[in-house]
Amino acid sequence: MKFKLLTTTLLVTGAASLAFGRPVTDSSATISTATEAYEFVYNAKSNSVQVKEKLSTTYTANVYQASIPVAEMFNNQVSITDVDCRVDGHSLRDFKPLYTYYGSDDIFYSDEQICYFPLNIPKINGTGVVKFEETVADPRYFTSIMFQESYAVKHKEVSIKIPRWMKVDLKEYNFNSFNIKKSVQYIPGDDADVITYSIDNLPATVKESNSPGPTYIYPHLLVLCKSAKAGGHDFTYFNTIDDLYNWCHGLVKSVVANQDPITAKAKELTTGLPSDLDKIKAIFYYVQDNTRYIAFEDGIAGFKPEAADEVLRKKYGDCKGMANLTRSLLVAAGYDARLCWLGTDYIAYDYQTPSLAVGNHMICALNFQGKTYFLDATESYIGFNEYAERIQGRQVLVDNGDKYILTRIPVAAIDQNHDVEKGKFTINGENFTGSVSHLWKGEDKEGVLAGLNSIKKEKTETAMISFLSQSNPDYAISALKISGTETPDKDVSVNYDVKYKDGLSAFGKDYYVDLDRKKDLQDASIKIGERKHDFWFGHKINLSVENELTLPAGYKISEMPAPLNVVNPNYEFHVQYTDGHGKLIYKKTILIKNTHLAKTDFAQWNKDIEQLTKTYNETAVLKPVTE
C-alpha cells in the first residue's frame, strides 16, 4: 500500500447533507469456485525472493447478458505474467485485455495499473473462467490477501506455500462471522508448509457510504514477511517495527535538497512576525495555501518524499512532499520539526504489525514549548492545532534519527468543530424577512471552504449563496458579507439579509410557522437489515440553530410544538420553541459526539430520528390576540 492521501473531503457541511445511502451490491453473477495459490520462491538469477500467484475464478451468470468487469491491479512490483479467459468452455474471439493506468481523484499519476476486460456471459447459468498468473518481485509488497469478492462466492480456497527458509506471519482479521476453515500441510520434498483456507458461501462485498475501511470489515490475512534465508543469502524484510522504520527512514535520508531556497523562503515568511507562534503558523499556512495536492506515485516515489525545494518550486506535491516542505521550512526557521508516518482511520492496523499496509499518510510533527503539534498541510483549510477526524487518535511514527518515537495524535474535543446559525425574522406579507449570521469552525469550516473552492465555475459569493440557500431560488439572500476565508486561523462567518416563504403559511388570519428550514438529519434513519456495516460520520458534529421571530402586531402564540431532548453517550438532539414575550424563539442543537455509529445502535438511532422528524413536522401557530 502506498502512501496515498485520501482527500475525500466532506462536501459542503451540515448534518442534513450526510448520506445514509443504500448498500450497493452486484448479484448479476456468482463466483461458483475461486482458487488462489501463493508461493514464495527464490529466484537465483535476481538473487531475490519472489511471490508467485495463481488465481482462478469461475463466474456463473445469474442474468441474461451478464457483463462482469474483470480487473486486476499491477504495478512496478507486481507483474501479470499470464491472463486467460473462457466463456462456456470456449476461448474468446478478439480477447484483448486493456492494460492501463489506474487513476483516482487522489492521485494524478502512479505506477498502479489495471488489467481490465469485460467478461460477457450471454446466457443465464453460463460460465466464465478467468485466470491470472502474477509475480510479486519483493515480499515487502505482498501485504494482504482479501477473501471476499465483488460477487457472492460459493466456494473459495486460498493456499499459501511457505518454504521453511521463509519467515512469514499470517494475521487473520474479521474471520468471526464467516465459516473459514484452515489446514496446514507439511510437504517434505519442498520443506514447505502449505496453509490452506477454505470458505463456503461467502457473501459479496457491499459498498456503502460512510463505511469503515475494508480492513475493518472484510475477512482477510495480513501477510507479515519478516525474513528469508535462501540461496546462501539472508534477507530481512520487516521483522520488527525497527525494520519498517529503517526502511522508511532510509528513503527520507536519501532525499537531497537544496537548502538555499528553503532558508530564503522561511526567512521571507517569518521576518517581522512578533512571536514564534505567528512564525510557525505563517509557515504552516503558506504550505497549505500555496501547495496543491497533486500526487505522482511512480515506483519508489510512492514511499519517498520529494525534496522540499522541489515542492516549493513546483508549488504542488503529495502528502509526503507537503510534510517534507513543512518540516524543512520550520527547521530552517529554527524549530524542531520532524516527519511522521501514520495510517489514517481508513486502516484497521497500527504499528504493532510491521508492514507497508499499516501506513498511508505522512505529516509533520512540531515540538514547541514542551508540546508536540501535528501539522497536516494536505488539509487545506484546517487551523493550527486542529486535527481532522481521520487522523485523530491514530498511532504515529515520528522521525527521531536512528530511532523513532511512537506516539498518538490527540483526539480533538467536539467543540473543535462548530456550525452555528442565528436568525432574526419578522413576517412581511407572505414572507419571512430578516437577517442571519452563520459561523463555522474546525472541520465544519474546512468542509465549507473545500466545498466553495471545489465549485470551479462560480465565484465565492455565488457559490456561498447557492450553499446557504440549498440552491433554493426562493431563499433570496442579499447584502452577503463573508469573512474569515483568507486564513485557516480564523473561523468562517457570513452575515446576510434574507426573504423567504418556506415554513410560513397564512390561512385566514392565522399563521403557521416553521422556523427550521433545513431540518438536519430528517432523512437520517438507517435501514436495519439492509445496512451491512457500521455508519461512520465524517467528523464530529456540533450544530446549533437559533432563530427568533418577532410576532406581528396584534398576534399571540397560540400553539407550539413540544420540546425534544434526546441524550445519548454518542449523540444529542435538542429542539425547543419558547415564548419570548412578543417573540417566538426556536433553538436546536445536534451533537454527534462519537463518529462511529455501531450496527447495534441503529435501532435506538432510528427511534431518536423518528422523534426528531416528528418534531420537525409540527408547526407553531400564531393567532390574533383577539381570538
Binding site: 478478439d94 494524478f108 518550486r313 504542488y316 403557521y512 408547526t619
Partner: protein, 658 residues
C-alpha cells in the same frame, strides 16, 4: 459507438510527384524565448483564467508509397487570474491517439515577475483511459495568480481527411488560429458551426494553407436543457479535391459514402446467403403475413440469439459466416446479418447513418463523414426505423438524439447488374410526440389517524420515455430491480414504505406496440402531511415528483434542446377525510402555455374538480418539439417553472365548522 471501420480504410491520394526520401517537412513549433506576461482586459477580471492564444495546425505531408501523413500541433497560452484558474490548469491532459508518434511536447510557466519555469520532460507521463484514449499528462510547476501557462505539442496521428476542432471553451479564448497545411494539390473545405468565420485559401510554394482566425470567443457555460457539445463554436474541415487528379471532382461525397457503406454491408458470399435463407425458412419468417410482422420477428430473434460486441472489429468476426457460427457480431457483422435476412424476405429497407443531436450534425452541404456514426435501418413502407446495434431498443424506437436531425439514407439503386446505393441526406423523423409519455395516476387517502397517507400509484412510461426504464428492469437482477422500484417510488411518493409493487409490460416486445411500462405501487407516506393546530397541511404538489426549477440569472447562451418531445399527464385523486374541507383548492389551478403560429407547442395546465369527497386533479404538461429557439426561452422557462410551482402547492384541510 466505435467508428465504423469503412471510414478508416487507408485512402491513396496519388501525388504524381517525386516522393520525399527525407523526414517529414512539417513546421517546427516554437515559442518566444523571452516571453512577457500577457495583460488581460478589465472585462475579463471575473474569469478564473483566459486563453490568450490557441493555435491549431494540421499538416498533411506526402510520405513514401503514395501515403499522406497527418501531424497535429496545438499551442496554447493561458493567463491565470485566480485560485480556480490554478486549480483548473495545474494538471494538463493532452489527448493523442493510441500508438501516436509524439514529435514534441513543451510546457512552461511564466511568473508575473518574468521568471520562467520550464517543464522537465521526465515529468511527462502517459496514461490510457478505459476507452483506449491516450493522454500525455503533466503538472504545471510554480503556478500563481497572474501567471501565464504555455504549452505546445505535435504528434503524428492516423491520417484522417475529416476533422472537427472546437474553438470555444468554458472560459474566453481571445485568439484562435487554425491552419490546415497540405500539399497544394489537396484542397480542404472548411465550415464553421454556431458562429461565422471565413477561411482563406493560400498556396505558398508546394503547400496549400487553409486558415481561420477567430477573435474573442466568449466562454460557454453549461445550461439546463442545452446540449453543451452541440452548441460549442467549432470549425469542421474535409478534403474535397485532389487537383492533380481532377480539379472539379469532389471527393468524399455523401454518395460515395453511401456506395461504400452499401458495398460493405452487403458483402457476403452465395454460401453465406444460402445459410441466411435456411435461417429464414427455419423460423418461418417468410410465412408471416406482412412486412411489420417480419421486421419484428427478425429483430426479436437476432437480439435474443446474437450478441452485439462493439469492440469486435476483425474481418472474420464480422463475416456473415462467422456471425452465424458464433452468434456474436460487431457493427459490420450485425448490419450484414439484418441486411441479408431482410433481402431474403423481400423487406425493403435502407441503411442509414445517423448523427447525434447532442454533439454534431450531418450537413447536407458539408460532407464530414465523422459526423454520422450510428447505423440504423429505415423501412420506407412503414416510415419507421430499427436500431440493430442497440439490444435495448425495439422497432420502431431508436436512440432519440439520433433523430430529429439529418441522417445519410443509403437508397438502393441498380446500374445494370450492379447493386449500389446513392445518398439522400434528410431528417430522421422520430415517432409522434404523443406516443412518448411519463404519466402518473394516483389515489391518495389519509389513514384514520390522519398522520400518514396511503398512496396507490401507477407511473406509466411509454415511447422514448420508457426505453431506459425497460432496459434497466430487463437487465437488472432481483436486488437491483428492488432498488429501482424503491428509488422511483421514493422520488414520486416520498416514501420508501412500499406495501405492494408490480412492474407491468416489462418485456422488450411491448415496445413494438408501445404498450406502456407501468410501475404500480402502494405505499404509506408521512412526508406529505403535516399537522398545524387543528388543520392538516397536505403537500399535494410533491405527489408529482420533484420538478426542475429554472432560474436564469445570466443571459441564456444556448437554444433549448430536449431529448425527445413528450407528454406528462398526471391524474391525482385525493379522498377528503370525513369532517374536513379544503380551504384553498384554487391553488391547484395553473395555466402556462405557449402558442406558436396558432398551435400550442408547449404548456403546463393543472385543474381540479371536487365531487363528493373526492378531489380530482388533472395536469397536462406537453413539449411537442425537441428544440425551441433562443427567443422562446422565457416562455419555456415559465412552463418548466409552472411544474415546480405546482410542487409547492400545499392544501389546507380544515375541520368543517371550525
Amino acid at each position: 459507438m466505435k467508428k465504423i471501420a469503412l471510414l478508416s480504410i487507408p485512402i491513396v491520394l496519388l501525388s504524381l510527384q517525386q516522393l520525399h526520401a527525407q523526414g517529414p517537412k512539417i513546421e517546427k513549433e516554437t515559442w518566444d524565448e523571452k516571453p512577457s506576461i500577457h495583460t488581460i482586459a478589465a472585462k475579463y477580471s471575473k474569469e478564473s483564467a483566459v486563453v490568450v492564444s490557441s493555435k491549431l495546425r494540421l499538416e498533411y505531408v506526402d510520405e513514401a508509397k503514395d501515403e499522406v501523413a497527418e501531424y497535429y500541433t496545438l499551442h496554447k497560452i493561458i493567463h491565470i487570474i485566480d485560485d480556480r484558474g490554478i486549480e483548473g490548469f495545474n494538471k494538463i491532459y493532452l489527448g493523442i491517439n493510441e500508438d501516436a508518434e509524439v514529435v514534441d511536447v513543451k510546457a512552461r510557466t511564466i511568473l508575473p515577475g518574468g521568471k520562467i519555469i520550464a517543464l522537465d520532460k521526465n515529468n511527462i507521463k502517459e496514461i490510457k483511459d478505459e476507452k483506449d484514449n491516450v493522454y500525455k499528462i503533466f503538472a504545471m510547476d510554480g503556478l500563481e495568480k497572474g501567471c501565464d501557462i504555455e504549452y505546445y505539442y505535435t504528434y503524428k496521428k492516423p491520417t484522417s481527411y475529416f476533422g472537427r476542432e472546437v474553438v470555444q471553451e468554458s472560459i474566453p479564448v481571445l485568439q484562435t488560429n487554425l491552419r490546415i497545411i497540405s500539399p497544394k494539390r489537396l484542397k480542404f473545405d472548411v465550415k464553421s458551426y454556431n458562429f461565422s468565420t471565413k477561411a482563406t485559401d493560400t498556396v505558398i510554394n508546394d503547400n496549400r494553407i487553409a486558415e481561420c482566425n477567430v477573435i474573442e470567443t466568449p466562454g460557454l457555460e453549461e445550461e439546463k436543457y442545452a446540449y453543451y457539445d452541440a452548441n460549442l463554436q467549432r470549425i469542421e474541415f474535409k478534403l474535397s479535391y485532389n487537383e492533380v487528379i481532377n480539379k472539379t471532382e469532389r471527393l468524399f461525397t455523401w454518395n460515395e459514402l453511401a456506395k461504400r457503406l452499401y458495398s460493405i454491408y452487403t458483402d457476403y458470399s452465395d454460401k453465406e446467403y444460402k445459410a441466411v435463407t435456411d435461417l429464414v425458412s427455419a423460423n418461418g419468417w417468410d410465412k408471416l403475413p406482412d412486412e411489420t410482422s417480419k421486421i419484428i420477428a427478425v429483430e426479436k430473434y437476432v437480439k435474443g440469439k446474437f450478441s452485439y460486441n462493439e469492440q469486435l472489429g476483425s474481418k472474420d468476426g464480422n463475416s456473415l459466416e462467422g456471425v452465424l457460427n458464433t452468434k456474436v457480431a460487431g457493427t459490420i457483422g450485425t448490419m450484414r446479418l439484418y441486411g441479408a435476412i431482410f433481402n431474403n424476405l423481400g423487406v425493403v429497407y435502407q441503411f442509414v447513418l445517423a448523427g447525434n443531436r447532442e454533439k454534431y450534425l450531418v450537413d447536407r452541404s458539408f460532407e464530414n463523414w465523422n459526423n454520422c456514426d450510428y447505423p440504423i435501418l429505415y423501412f420506407p413502407a412503414e416510415n419507421k426505423f430499427l436500431a440493430p446495434t442497440r439490444p435495448d431498443y425495439r422497432y420502431p424506437w431508436i436512440v432519440a438524439t439520433w433523430g430529429e436531425t439529418n441522417g445519410v439514407f443509403c437508397k438502393h439503386t441498380s446500374i445494370g447488374t450492379l447493386s449500389t446505393a446513392i445518398a439522400d441526406v434528410k431528417n430522421v423523423t422520430l415517432e409522434d410526440y404523443q406516443k412518448s409519455f411519463q404519466n402518473i395516476e394516483a389515489r391518495l387517502e389519509l389513514n384514520p389517524g390522519l398522520d400518514s397517507i396511503a398512496i396507490d400509484e401507477k407511473q406509466i412510461f411509454a415511447g422514448y420515455a420508457a426505453i431506459g426504464y425497460r432496459d434497466a428492469f430487463n437487465y437488472a437482477n432481483a436486488d437491483q430491480q428492488k432498488d429501482m422500484i424503491k428509488e422511483l417510488t421514493k422520488a414520486f411518493a416520498n416514501s420508501e414504505n412500499i406495501l405492494f409493487s408490480e412492474v407491468l409490460n416489462q418485456d422488450f416486445d411491448a415496445e413494438n406496440t408501445n404498450l406502456p411500462l407501468i410501475l404500480h405501487t402502494k405505499t404509506k407516506s408521512g412526508e406529505l402531511i403535516e399537522q398545524a393546530g387543528n388543520k392538516l397541511l397536505l403537500k399535494i404538489g410533491m405527489a408529482i415528483g420533484p420538478q426542475v426549477e429554472m432560474y436564469q440569472e445570466k443571459p441564456r447562451q444556448a437554444p433549448i434542446n430536449m431529448e425527445f418531445a413528450h407528454v406528462e399527464e398526471r391524474k391525482l385523486e385525493f379522498i377528503i377525510p370525513a369532517g374536513y374541507t379544503i380551504s384553498n383548492p384554487n391553488d391547484l389551478k395553473i395555466n402556462q402555455t405557449y402558442i406558436e403560429n396558432g398551435q400550442q407547442t408547449m404548456g403546463f395546465v393543472s385543474d381540479y374538480e371536487i365531487k363528493g369527497n373526492v378531489l380530482s386533479i388533472h395536469i397536462i404538461e406537453e413539449y411537442k418539439k425537441t428544440d425551441y429557439p433562443f427567443n422562446q426561452f422565457d416562455q419555456f422557462r415559465k412552463i418548466i417553472n409552472a411544474s415546480s410551482d405546482f410542487n409547492k402547492v400545499v392544501l389546507v384541510l380544515e375541520k368543517k365548522g371550525s
